[in-house]
């Protein structure tokens, strides 16, 4: 029986090639989209979830209190003392490590030098995280200050081989380190990523300030591995008083949070996680399931539309002795066969599309075909899809009464069936309309924040990191570069023009209160020519100048800072900045420093000779940019030979800030487009069947004198009505959802009704074209043929 049913299925597929193709490819696209999004979701969900003990790793978090001892904010950074204190005093802590931010650092084998992600961490980190050692001893690899662990890729990059144990590399052109371990590459979805790992003891010898015991200098991350039997709530209660005990003035307390949950649940309010990136992940999950459901709806619609053809088969089989159960299983099997074909096609699509998708998202997703879990997942999705898609046709078709079918040439229990099919189409298109509106709103929002005035001149502005000798020889470099004509101006800055994150409290000014001291200002430290180089607009006064020796004790403040401090005639007034009395010499206009979608804090720019980090340069517009960059690279290399020179355009760095929104936009675009496409495929198929069913009616009407136009109207109208209803349902839902989304941004656009109207019109237009393709064909057929068909 199974074999025979399979034969019927395959022969049916072959006979209705067009509709089979529509069905299979629609479902394949739906499956592929769904699986791709699920790959992404699983990538995000497995973030920091590597190794068997990942569940026992916790990050030490800090809750900051306001003067009323209420939790004001929560941060992931700690001082350097809390970790050792926890390890020493609490037996539940099995391992502990501090680590710094792990930025690009210079590592070299002879003349082969690269800036790679290097990280300092306690030796105990090898007991916290589960690294796979290719060579070296996990127990001792970071014991000596001159030890370094490299990943396989780093080893290959430097030496061309992974057989590098005990070889020597040069770090920051200063010290030689011995490779004591080679580990497998760290997965891209790890928060504590590194290309090479060095011991904390080396870190301490490099910087004096790291050595100093600090409780409230929140500069580092701390992770602990707890005994599996630990009651976390109890543990957090025990450590709550620790900070206050050690530093009564700290106004902060620590707690631990599961490390593998932090990436997705990183937003804290009142010291409790309220979500974070998980919302985006859920959105994508919803999107994936939604698209798959659209494809399933197509499938059901096509199958029920075909019911008239299948009814005869059902009738015959029932008379001959088929039970309802055997018919249900036949139709379910049919849908499983189709889903199976779709799954194969979906895998092909994924293989073709994954590199593009990875490129878009800037991550590394891959399908490992040896992974049993993946296959189990795929098979269960296929089975579930097949069952969902096939259940309605199966139960519907098998319910036919054989007498009626075989007598009347076809089951016509229409009324209700049509309304269900209509409902499905309406649901399908509502979803598509919501997606399209979401896409356009996201696009508009991106445009809106992109078009915000930056507040400085981003064109021709470049930055590079102030590495190695560039600190001491800054003035030499500046003179040489200016002389070369590659640049017209240059300044030193504590941070990049596009990266916020440096701020301070404790500012005092005329009339400030104790509460004002707790207010957080953004800060940049610089020396001369900052305004001249960046093009930030000066409103009053002047910038720091070599002509005023007193400027080493000066600050500039932003327009919003003046407003916050309530200063009249700010220039010349004295403020207390980092505990020093300083004079305001200039007021500058606010510029976008952090996210373009957020309002930045008021800013203070202070004069600090030794506090650099970034070299900002304005290129000479008289020369070709390429020539300018080549000159800069050449001269910088002369001044600072040990380091590779990497010059970045500020406008590109700025554009990078919109990356997350851009990805969201692209994904919504892509999958919204696919949703519309699949929906239209379904509509196309339905229109075809409806035209076929009404062949005789069309013939009779034509004989009686109906025009092609009036027939098309007759056939198209019922479909367009459904799409119209879908639009009416979709618009308010989309409006509600997207208003909610926009509220996430401090600076946001409003939903433009003209665009919503255009979306509605174009959806209707696409549906009209799709349906017309079929109805035109039906209306044009020779009526004689149509009538002979009976």
């Amino acid at each position: 029986m199974f074999k025979l049913n399979l034969k019927i299925t395959l022969r049916n597929l072959w006979r209705n090639k067009t509709s089979s193709l529509i069905n299979i490819s629609g479902l394949a696209i739906g499956l592929a989209s769904c699986l791709m999004l699920m790959l992404y979701v699983s990538y995000e969900r497995s973030y920091d979830n590597h190794g068997k003990d990942a569940g026992q790793v916790y990050k030490v978090m800090t809750n900051f209190l306001d003067i009323n001892k209420r939790i004001e904010s929560t941060g992931g950074l700690t001082g350097n003392m809390i970790g050792p204190a926890l390890k020493e005093d609490y037996p539940a802590v099995k391992a502990m490590s501090r680590y710094e931010w792990g930025g690009p650092k210079l590592i070299a084998n002879g003349t082969k030098s690269f800036k790679k992600s290097g990280r300092f961490a306690d030796a105990d980190i090898l007991n916290v995280f589960d690294y796979t050692f290719v060579s070296g001893n996990q127990k001792t690899a970071l014991n000596e200050p001159n030890n370094v662990i490299v990943t396989e890729s780093t080893a290959k990059l430097l030496f061309g081989t992974t057989d590098v144990l005990n070889k020597t590399v040069r770090f920051e052109n200063k010290i030689s380190l011995k490779i004591t371990g080679v580990v497998k590459d760290i997965p891209g979805n790890s928060s504590v990523y590194f290309d090479f790992l060095m011991p904390w003891s080396l870190y301490q010898t490099q910087f004096d300030w790291v050595k100093e015991p600090a409780w409230t200098n929140f500069n580092w991350s701390t992770v602990v591995k707890l005994d599996p039997s630990t009651d976390i709530a109890q543990f957090n209660k025990e450590i709550k008083g620790l900070m206050e005990k050690k530093r009564p003035d700290s106004r902060a307390f620590v707690f631990v949070y599961p490390f593998n949950k932090l990436h997705l649940n990183g937003t804290f309010v009142n010291g409790k996680s309220i979500g974070g990136k998980i919302e985006e992940v859920r959105l994508f999950m919803g999107l994936g399931i939604g698209i798959l459901l659209i494809a399933c709806v197509n499938f059901m619609n096509m199958a029920t539309a075909k019911s008239e053809r299948r009814a005869k088969e059902v009738g015959i089989k029932k008379t001959i002795g088929a039970t309802r159960g055997s018919l249900i299983s036949q139709f379910l099997m049919e849908s499983l066969v189709l889903t199976f074909c779709s799954a194969i096609m979906a895998i092909v699509i994924i293989e073709l599309a994954l590199p593009l998708f990875n490129n878009l998202l800037g991550i590394e997703l891959g399908v490992s075909y040896s992974n049993a879990q993946l296959w189990a997942g795929l098979i269960s999705v296929v089975l579930l899809t097949g069952l969902i898609a096939g259940s309605y046709p199966a139960f519907y078709l098998s319910s036919f009464n054989p007498v009626q079918i075989l007598r009347k040439k076809g089951g016509k229990s229409q009324g209700q069936l049509i309304s269900l099919r209509q409902l499905l189409v309406i649901g399908q298109f509502s979803f598509a309309v919501i997606l399209i509106i979401a896409t356009t709103v996201i696009y508009e929002q991106i445009q809106y924040i992109k078009n915000r005035p930056v507040g400085y001149k981003v064109d021709e502005l470049v930055e590079m990191e102030q590495d190695g000798d560039l600190f001491d020889k800054f003035e030499v470099l500046k003179a040489k570069l200016l002389q070369s004509g590659a640049i017209i101006s240059m300044a030193q800055s504590s941070t990049s023009m596009t990266k916020d994150g440096s701020n301070f409290t404790g500012m005092e000014w005329k009339g400030s209160t104790d509460a004002d001291k707790l207010f957080t200002f953004n800060q940049i430290a610089t020396t001369y020519d900052f305004i001249k180089t960046t093009g930030v607009k000066l409103l009053e006064g002047r910038e720091f100048s070599t002509q005023f020796a007193s400027d080493t004790a000066a600050v500039m403040v932003s327009r919003s800072a003046v407003k916050r401090m309530n200063l009249v005639n700010p220039v010349g007034q004295i403020v207390v900045f980092h505990g020093e009395k300083r004079t305001i010499v200039g007021v500058f206009d606010d510029f976008i420093w952090g996210s373009p979608a957020q309002v930045d804090r008021p800013m203070v720019i202070g004069f600090f000779q030794g506090w650099g980090g970034t070299v900002i340069m304005r290129l000479n517009p008289a020369n070709a940019p390429v020539a300018n960059l080549a000159l800069i690279e050449k001269i910088t290399k002369e001044v600072n030979p040990a380091y590779p020179v990497e010059v970045n355009y500020v406008d590109r760095l700025y554009a990078g800030k919109l990356n997350a929104q851009r990805i969201l936009g692209v994904l919504a675009n892509l999958f919204g487009g696919l949703a519309i496409f699949i929906s239209c495929l379904g509509l196309f198929g339905l229109a075809a069947f409806s035209a076929e069913q009404r062949t005789k009616e069309i013939g009779v009407r034509k004989v009686l004198g109906a025009s092609v136009g009036s027939l098309m109207q007759l056939l198209s109208l019922s479909f367009l009505k459904m799409v119209m209803i879908a639009i009416l349902i979709g618009i308010p839902i989309a409006n509600y959802i997207m208003n909610g989304w926009l509220r996430n941004f401090e600076i946001h656009t409003t939903i433009n009704w003209l665009i919503i109207f255009l979306v509605a019109a174009s959806t209707l237009g696409i549906a009209l074209i799709t349906v017309s393709l079929q109805t035109y064909k039906a209306a044009k057929t020779n009526p004689v043929q149509a009538l002979k068909y009976e």
Binding site: M1, L4, K7, I8, R11, N12, R15, K312, E313, G315, I316, K317, K318, T319, I320, G321, A322, T323, S326, P402, V403, L406, R407, K409
Partner: protein, 232 residues
Amino acid sequence: MIKIENLEKVYKTEEVETTALNGINMHVKAGEFVSIMGPSGCGKSTLLNVMGLLDKPESGSYKFLETELLTMNDKERSNFRKRNMGFVFQNFNLIDELTVFENIELPLIYNKVAAPERKRLVNEMIERMNIVNRSGHFPQQLSGGQQQRVAVARALVTKPKLVLADEPTGNLDSSHGNEVMELLCELNEQGTTIVMVTHSSHDASFSNRIINLKDGHVISEKINKTRSEELI
């Protein structure tokens, strides 16, 4: 073999009630070939459907070899049907996606006959129906007469006690129609009981007995002398 008493069947729609069968009494002996005739709407097809357990009457009794069938539930009816009855329809009702062989094989599959046995029975049937060289063809590739022969083959392959035929020649020209009628006669002579609904008195002349229906009543019964001698 069949004894029907006071059979009543009413079709209801929202506005009208149509009495299709209005107290039918009839019997069929084993080995008989009975024709049911009557004008359109007289209830003959309804009667055939009730006899084939495809439709349920409101009241009455239907005994088949002393077993009352009308009290059975759906599953029992379906089982009884597939073991004891075969159907031949006016429009053949072959499954388009199956070959001649597979179409004939289908009822055996539902009767859970083992595969080698199925093959033997189907081939025997194909030979008997004289369609050997057609066994791999699909219904669309056959003439109407051939299709109906396949349908008859399918009805007989389970060796049913009763064959129900609903205007078996209705869609055929007269030469193919005669072919099918001769086939039915031949089967009847070999012992199969046949009940046939027909419009055509020519077709009815092949049977032993003709029952005339009108408005849901049996109005007359006629023994066909030329073909009923051996039975009576």
